[in-house]
């Protein structure tokens, strides 16, 4: 049976496992994604992010109790699934010696897109990626950001139902990152997007996050839900010499970490140890050179830190 029925989730994994010889890259992943969204896959290097993405794109033989993507079983023939998936690997893999337009045309041929449809879609994508003025440029001569935009445009050309992107924004500048994300935001209307990233602001911008560590799914949920789960209080102590303030804050018995960030020191207090925010604010306010102390919502960094501490991540 092929294709996803109206009530079936787009992704449904039970005990998804991938072994490379004796090494277990994925150790029993359970994951369900019901509707179109941007799903962020985060976690340390070697956590299994790339393996999970490749499995979802139908590129790996896997073991599982259940492994359905867009209604296709990953353990069966996945040829039909692959036709519905766009995959952007970590290593840039377009043709350097073809122009921007020729790269797109090549993909269109592979997917047997009629010429008129190719024109319509590629014009729209080139417009949206601001690559239109460069359509005749060799792909190899594009800047890092433009190459990545082309890679994503190329994956979007066949109008996939699932778009899988492996760290597409690594190392590219903030403007290009912003442009890529607007492209993804637009694509979310027609596709489920699964993206891995090491940027905290991008993780915060996903609809759902999946945190992997050592081949296991440690936590998943909306960024807000993950932040809410974290038993941590975050504070900022503003003052003259933020680095000295951070040093002094670390000496408070209940503080788990403090670091200067611009004009303030960021101070983390585990909820279990916290004497309450009034007391913490009072103590921080009494440190030398502190002019103003405030409690702030738990941010993505703190949330992921706490997740990594609760699992495999070693104490600092």
């Amino acid at each position: 049976m092929a294709g996803v029925g109206p009530a079936e989730p787009l992704i449904r994994l039970r005990g998804l496992t991938k072994r490379w010889g004796r090494r277990t890259a994925l150790a029993g992943i359970d994951l369900e994604v019901a509707a179109r969204a941007i799903v962020g896959v985060v976690g340390p290097d070697g956590a299994g992010k790339t393996t999970l993405l490749r499995a979802l794109a139908g590129l790996l033989e896997v073991e599982a109790t259940e492994a359905r993507v867009l209604g296709y079983d990953l353990r069966d023939d996945v040829t039909a699934l692959k036709a519905r998936v766009g995959y952007v690997p970590q290593v840039w893999s377009l043709h350097r010696n073809l122009s921007v337009e020729e790269n797109l045309r090549f993909t269109a041929r592979l997917h047997r897109l009629p010429e008129a449809e190719f024109r319509r879609r590629s014009d729209a994508l080139l417009e949206r990626t601001a690559l239109a003025p460069f359509r005749d440029r060799y792909a190899g001569a594009l800047s890092g950001g433009m190459k990545q935009k082309l890679a994503v445009a190329n994956a979007l050309l066949p109008a996939p139902e699932l778009l899988v992107l492996d760290e597409p924004t690594a190392g590219i500048d903030v403007v290009a990152r912003g442009e890529l994300w607007s492209l993804l935001a637009a694509a979310r209307a027609s596709a489920l997007i699964v993206i891995s990233t090491s940027y905290l602001d991008e993780a915060a911008g996903c609809d759902t996050l999946v945190y992997l560590d050592e081949g296991r799914l440690v936590a998943s949920g909306t960024p807000d839900a993950l932040r809410a789960r974290v038993g941590l209080e975050c504070y900022r102590a503003w003052g003259g010499a933020a680095r000295d303030i951070a040093c002094a804050a670390r000496r408070l018995g209940y503080v788990s970490g403090a670091r200067a960030a611009g004009r303030y020191a960021r101070v983390d207090v585990p909820a279990a140890r916290s004497p309450g925010d009034r007391e913490v604010l009072h103590d921080l306010g009494a440190l030398p050179d502190v002019r103003f102390a405030e409690r702030i919502p738990v941010d993505m960094e703190a949330a992921l830190l706490a997740l990594s501490a609760g699992h495999g991540g070693r104490a600092a």
């Binding site: 290097d45 590219i172 602001d201 960030a261 611009g262 702030i296 960094e301």
Partner: protein, 309 residues
């Protein structure tokens, strides 16, 4: 201001027709953390390789800790520590053997080595890894070991090329704690990163794009120039008292139905003390300071800068 410990003038590197680094003038104050930011291929690594004397510039001058790096590149090596994007630990040797090898290069041995390595081993949580070979260690621990090794001989200047690329948030956070501690102890740290929010952990930020410097200032100065500025929101308490306090703090005040808001390009001197006084007088008032995110600052730096096609 003290004499810069790193200084370049007109530093350039061309590979054939391609100009990787274009007439760079850099000045780094001793004991500061200098962030060198830019995307892939912007010229960051080329610059760092010239600064540490392993790549000869096409033109320009470099002085690091009083040494003319262009003419006497080897002399700079005792003064600096370097961690590259690929951590260079010898496979087949245990981490401990790597430590002894590197220590030997700098004439560090005996009790001095035990003291220094002991402290680093504890700081980087490497005790369990000491007897293992780098190839058997997870990437994050290898990276920690690499950073520890680069500072083993207590160099005056530490060059770190993307030390936080590909490491988990926990190691990233630890790295920045250590970098700040080293700087507090007087070490100068020259660090490249593509995580622009890390600029806030540094004293000075230079941003390179297509081989040219397009920003060179303390992070706060960039924030003041390239963002909509700080926003302070006061909810609850007496709105008139809040408005008066924000005005006294030097902010432009606007009233919203549920809050009083103030904005300013930077936080004026005395503003923070004013906010603290407001909260002391109005315990029911919730005061929140919003700082413009560095990603937004750099987005504007890049869009404002003239860019080559």
């Amino acid at each position: 201001m003290s004499e810069p410990i790193i200084r370049t003038r007109g530093l350039s590197k061309r590979f054939g027709d391609f100009t990787a680094v274009d007439a760079l003038d850099l000045a780094v104050e001793p004991g500061t953390i200098f962030a060198f930011l830019g995307g892939n291929g912007s010229g960051k690594s080329t610059t760092i390789r010239m600064l540490i004397g392993i790549l000869e510039p096409t033109a320009g001058e470099i002085r690091v800790d009083g040494i003319d790096v262009v003419h006497t590149p080897r002399r700079v090596r005792d003064h600096i520590g370097y961690m590259g994007q690929k951590v260079s630990l010898y496979q087949g040797l245990s981490l401990r053997e790597n430590v002894e090898f590197y220590a030997g290069l700098f004439g560090l041995a005996g009790a001095a080595l035990e003291r220094r390595w002991g402290a680093l081993r504890e700081r980087f949580d490497l005790a369990a890894a000491e007897g293992r070979r780098p190839e058997d260690l997870p990437a994050a621990i290898r990276q920690r070991a690499g950073l520890a090794l680069s500072m083993l001989h207590e160099p005056r200047v530490l060059f770190l090329d993307e030390p936080t690329a590909g490491v988990d948030v926990r190691s990233r956070s630890l790295f920045w704690d250590v970098i700040q501690e080293e700087a507090a102890g007087g070490t100068t740290v020259f660090v490249t990163t593509h995580f622009v929010e890390e600029a806030d952990s540094c004293d000075w930020v230079a941003f390179i794009d297509a081989g040219k410097l397009i920003a060179d200032a303390p992070p706060e100065a960039l924030r003041e120039r390239f963002s909509d500025g700080y926003r302070v929101t006061v909810r609850g308490g007496d709105p008139r008292a809040a408005a008066a306090a924000l005005t006294a703090a030097g902010l432009a005040v606007e009233s919203a139905p549920d809050a009083v808001r103030g904005t300013a390009p930077g936080l004026p001197p005395g503003a923070l003390a004013e906010l603290e006084r407001l909260r002391a007088r109005q315990p029911d008032a919730h005061v929140e300071v919003q700082q413009p995110a560095m990603t937004d600052v750099f987005r504007r730096v890049l869009t404002d800068a003239p860019r080559p096609a």
